[in-house]
């Protein structure tokens, strides 16, 4: 059973169609990244899943329970973007407050709060008022409140916003540790490199629609494009090579070729070897997630689901 499941989710806001039939599914133990431009519908989707926004049409379930039912949120933690923890709280009192609202009893809260405060690196500031915190400290406390009741699902909206590079690494490590504990994480982030590093699967949402979805590896792979480098100049062989490939581009120290399939690639390699050319390197061509993302958001027709 998927942990998060949406089916043809639609949301209209006074003449604006924020979601146009979003269907996705997240399995247990996955870190799922949701990418999209501002206004693409990411936050609306997360808010529908957490019951903050009512869908116009379609269905969504969390842990098998329809969203909107408070029971669906029993095992869910949420770190909203631009969250505002009441500034009259200290880290300890805020965690005690949110823990209580999440159904934790006093004994469990008393045991869990010091652990979490230490985990997010606020040990020395646990009793200080939130209003004295830096943005990064507030973000760490936000993470702690999302995890106070040890939920099975975490929704994190820009979790490293305002956090320094060392802190970001710590957050990433924490996400990986949560995943290893079997938790499912739904991550909204603009930091594509970060998503690339931790997410198992990614969806790119644009204008209220999921344009692409799949594993990071699948999304960034370019089918049958290879970069080759050689010990000697390849120029004399180029005319003959062009007849054997779909396309060819010179690069510094070699060439980049596109072929129909692996058989054609092997035929090219055989030709090069038989021509006495020493091949010093060959790599499969890959895009960065950023390139994929930009490709999707710049081209309205670019889309599809990658298995």
């Amino acid at each position: 059973m998927p942990v998060i499941e949406t089916s043809r989710l639609v949301k209209h806001y006074k003449g604006v169609q924020a979601l146009k039939g979003v269907s996705l599914s997240v399995e247990k133990g996955e870190i799922y990244g949701l990418l999209g431009r501002n206004g693409a519908g990411k936050t609306t989707l997360v808010k529908i899943l957490l019951g903050l926004v009512h869908p116009t049409d379609g269905e969504a379930k969390l842990l098998g329970t329809r969203v909107g039912d408070p029971a669906a949120r029993r095992d869910v933690g949420f770190l909203p973007e631009d969250h505002r923890l009441p500034d009259y709280h200290s880290a300890e009192s805020a965690l005690d407050f949110y823990g209580g609202l999440s159904g934790l009893d006093g004994t469990t809260r008393r045991a869990r709060i010091p652990e979490l405060i230490e985990l997010v690196g606020l040990k020395d500031a646990g009793k200080r008022k939130v209003r004295t915190y830096s943005k990064g400290m507030k973000q760490r406390l936000g993470l702690a409140q999302a995890m106070i009741h040890d939920p099975r699902v975490l929704f994190l909206d820009e979790p490293t916003d305002g956090v320094d590079p060392v802190g970001r690494k710590e957050v990433r490590d924490m996400l990986v540790r949560c995943k290893s504990e079997g938790k499912t994480i739904f991550l909204n982030s603009h930091l594509l490199s970060e998503v690339e590093l931790v997410c198992d699967r990614v969806a790119i949402i644009e204008l209220g629609e999921v344009r692409r979805e799949g594993t990071v590896k699948d999304l960034t792979r370019v089918e049958n494009v290879y970069a080759l480098s050689f010990a000697a100049p390849i120029d004399p062989l180029i005319p003959e090579l062009e007849k054997r490939v779909k396309s060819l581009r010179r690069t510094e120290g070699g060439i980049e070729i596109s072929v129909d399939d692996v058989t054609k690639l092997n035929a090219v390699l055989d030709f090069l070897r038989s021509s006495g050319m020493n091949i010093t390197g060959m790599t499969e061509k890959k895009y960065t997630l950023e390139q994929v993302f930009l490709d999707v958001v710049d081209r309205p027709d670019a889309g599809g689901k990658v298995a």
Partner: protein, 444 residues
């Protein structure tokens, strides 16, 4: 658990703004001043002696009729022991009252019967049963009427259920025997010395009781200080609770919890009530305790002002919460709550005014009907003032006669408890239900 968490959160919010602390400090000052008030102790014999001059006044009001010249004497004041047939007065006091000249006393009784239940300014210049020149009694009163007069004067001065027996007419003099139950002199009208700030200022008060003074102070504290100023400060201090809760970035953290939204709204509403529960409780219980220690009056009626004030605030805070929810503005919540309060108070006052006997208003007039209708269907905030006074009067043992006497003929408070709690409670429930519905339906 979540409920207590929300209450604690609201308390923390109040403390952080220092509004709660400031009100508690101000309350402490009031409690200190109340504790500094000293009340001179009277002996029962002194109070009874004081009555001598009060019998000469017409029953039903404070002022004597200048054309009637009755004189009274008091004698044989003695404690009542275990006497057969007088068990209910055991431990009390008995005394004799003599009234003379008989004809003047009879005039006073006839006149008192004629003005009974009327206000001072309605008193007639002449009454049936007395000649127009006030020299002759045309219809002498019965002995029961004469005993009634003595009893009425005693009740006016707060003697509870005195028994008056006519001993007889001795020449030009009527003689009565009065039996009093055991009563603290704190409840009886008599002159005593009031001091403030532990004796820094002193006043000699006459024709009033310690209970009257305690009632006046407590009614001012509960009705004016807490009931108006305190409630206004509480409305201002708590108006931001709901708008703060639903501001972007904060509401997300709450709505993502496994709780229905209506519960969050109601819990936060209750969090606002805790502000008044604490401050009103501290002021009322604290001042009650110190005044009880100093005056010896431990009647618990004043304590009822605590829940009544919380109820009063709860009604106004339901308006504030709904407006705060709909507009997200604490300023709008404060202004509209204050306007609601003002309008309801005006309607409440208008209702009392149009029904005052001396107002002489046609009860079928359209304005009267409109006021009656508005009063019947709208929250009875004005009645809470009356309720606070009434509960104290009852508990402080201040009778209707005595209250009319000390308040210059003012009306004893009347409260329709069922309507007060029923109509006001129904409005509160409706406003909160509307708030819950809106909060549950809205996208955040």
């Amino acid at each position: 658990m979540a409920f207590l968490g929300m209450l604690k959160d609201s308390l923390r919010e109040s403390l952080d703004r220092r509004s709660l602390t400031v009100l508690l400090v101000i309350s402490t000052l009031f409690i200190f001043v109340c504790g500094s008030i000293g009340y001179g102790v009277l002996r029962i014999e002194q109070v009874i002696e004081e009555m001598k001059g009060k019998f000469e006044q017409t029953a039903g009001g404070r002022w004597r009729n200048e054309r009637i010249d009755a004189r009274f004497d008091i004698a044989d004041i003695r404690p009542v022991g275990a006497e057969p047939g007088r068990e209910e007065f055991e431990g009390g006091t008995s005394f004799r009252v003599g009234a003379q000249p008989l004809v003047e006393f009879q005039k006073l009784v006839v006149y008192s019967l004629a003005v009974k239940g009327k206000r001072d300014r309605e008193w007639p210049r002449t009454v049936p049963g007395i000649s127009e020149d006030f020299k002759q009694v045309l219809t002498p009163p019965s002995t029961e009427d004469m005993a009634w007069f003595i009893g009425a004067k005693l009740r006016e001065n707060n003697f509870t259920r005195p028994k008056v027996e006519v001993e007889g007419i001795e020449g030009d003099r009527a003689v009565f025997r009065v039996w009093l139950k055991k009563t603290s002199t704190a409840y009886l009208s008599g002159g005593f010395r009031l001091s403030i700030l532990f004796g820094a200022w002193k006043w000699d008060l006459g024709n009033t009781s310690v209970a009257d003074v305690v009632f006046s102070i407590q009614n001012t504290l509960a009705g004016l200080i807490a009931g108006w100023i305190g409630i206004l400060v509480a409305i201002i201090s708590t108006a931001a609770f709901i708008p703060n809760m639903i501001q972007k970035g904060t509401v997300d953290l709450l709505l993502a919890r496994p709780m229905p939204r209506w519960r969050l709204f109601l819990y936060k509403y209750c969090g606002g009530l805790i502000f008044v529960t604490i401050t009103a409780g501290y002021l009322i219980v604290g001042s009650w305790f110190v005044m009880a220690v100093r005056s010896g009056i431990w009647s618990p009626g004043y304590l009822a002002a605590w829940p009544l004030l919380v109820f009063f605030f709860a009604a106004l805070y339901s308006v504030s919460s709904l407006i705060g929810l709909l507009t997200r503005s604490s300023i709008a919540a404060i202004l509209l709550s204050a306007v609601t309060w003002l309008i309801l108070s005006m309607i409440g006052s208008a209702y009392y005014i149009v029904h005052m006997p001396e107002a002489d208003i046609d009860q079928d007039h359209a304005v009267v009907k409109a006021v009656d209708m508005a009063h019947a269907v709208l929250p009875r905030l004005k009645d809470v003032d009356q309720a606070i006074a009434l509960v104290q009067l009852k508990a402080n043992g201040i009778s209707e006669d005595h209250y009319r006497h000390i308040s210059h003929g003012g009306d004893y408070p009347k409260v329709d408890w069922a309507a007060l709690f029923g109509v006001t409670g129904a409005w509160m429930a409706a406003l909160l239900a509307l708030g819950c519905w809106r909060f549950s339906r809205r996208d955040y």
